[in-house]
Symmetry: C2
């Protein structure tokens, strides 16, 4: 890899949010070079666009670079569950390396940019770069842990707790990645999407949000979220949070 090549790939190498994640901090430079070989493009998509469609094979894995996206499942009768909200730095479709076709859809929540890596190459990678493979495995396991937490929240928590959990989780993930600080942040989910993520109905979601607003805990309006009373919000999710866990990232 010449320095010329490097520069042309700079967006990924230097500013890709993934780089900031603890898990990638320990990358050696030749592992980085190796990763760079996978990168085939740096693209963007508009809000609402579907990047991966349930049941349709894909031949690339992506890393979200800017903007938000969501991973969801549709039931035949139209019900929908948002499995995970993806933030800059998250991988998209990692499982398609081994499991095709994907059993979920991915949709852009805002205008986004993302890096595209080649699936075929990634699948073979463990043979050449076992350390890298170890890290990807760890990444997958971390995500699994997150899913278990979300599952517990869906199965055992009230509407209020679910909403509180979702917002707090997003706040934490954004903070950890240095994508924000303070208590207000851009929040591109509509109430319907929030409802689909929380496993609630939109009307009830709206009412829960009103209650939280009235109690001066949290306001979500005009595509922005503002946490007024962090302590109270955390109290609401004492529950899910008690995992000293949450080394989500």
């Amino acid at each position: 890899v010449t320095s010329g090549d490097r520069n042309s790939l700079a967006p990924w190498c230097d500013s890709c949010p993934l780089r900031a994640l603890p898990i990638f901090e320990e990358f050696s430079s030749d592992e980085l070079d190796f990763m760079l070989k996978f990168k085939t493009a740096h693209r963007h998509a508009e809000r609402g666009k579907t990047l991966i469609r349930h049941g349709e094979s894909v031949n690339h894995v992506c890393t979200l670079f800017s903007g938000w996206a969501l991973r969801h499942r549709l039931l035949p009768d139209g019900r929908r569950q948002i499995v995970l909200v993806l933030l800059p730095g998250d991988m998209i479709g990692l499982d398609t390396i081994f499991l095709q076709p994907p059993q979920y859809s991915i949709q852009a929540l805002s205008d986004i940019t993302y890096c595209v890596l080649d699936t075929q190459l990634l699948a073979a990678m463990p043979l050449e770069q076992p350390r890298l493979a170890q890290r990807l495995m760890k990444l997958a396991l971390i995500e699994q842990r997150v899913l278990e937490t979300r599952m517990t929240v869906l199965g055992r928590c009230s509407a209020e707790e679910r909403i509180a959990y979702l917002v707090l989780d997003l706040h934490q993930r954004l903070s950890r990645r240095r994508l924000m600080n303070g208590y207000g942040f851009a929040f591109p989910l509509t109430q319907q999407q929030l409802a689909d993520a929380a496993g609630l109905n939109i009307i009830h979601t709206n009412r829960v949000l009103r209650r939280l607003r009235m109690r001066d805990i949290l306001t979500i309006q005009n595509h922005r979220a503002q946490i007024h009373d962090m302590a109270a919000l955390q109290r609401l999710v004492t529950v899910g949070m008690h995992d000293g866990a949450r080394p989500l990232f």
Copy 2:
């Protein structure tokens, strides 16, 4: 590995349920030999015993050999969510290779036997046996897919659908692994456990079971499950099942 060694390890090598899973079919014999090195013991535990406790580090990974177990999370206020019911052949604590301590507890649902593998060795394994690492990664990704399905069921399905899904899922997994055939099978979960898995309350669970029994769809009694009307049961979960997915195993 001498043939003497081999024989002494026979329980794992020849009859471990894992061997029957598609994912392990393709094992080469030296990969198998390699795996055998990890095995440190073949143990058993009584019904009710806790194998892994939330927050307490463990230094071994297991494969369930016989009997059922469950993976669950406790909330500080006592609410509990059963994340997954583990059947013979399932791995226990795979994530502890990279993520310590575990964020869940594992409990034996019946008397069980299991193989114990060494965590340290497994963690280093990718460096020596990349193909094996690939397979473990695939295994983790499959489990993740299962969790996403379960999450969708919890977030979007009715009580009846949840119960139906759970039972049907167990039936399928047992069948695929050749651990049963037909429509009746041993079912060691109590109604409370079933409730904790479905994200329901025990009383409601009891009523749903009664309704399913009355409609001649399904009977769960005396630690046995009997599916009377498979078609009807499947209709109830058309929903979750529609993923042409379910290549769970």
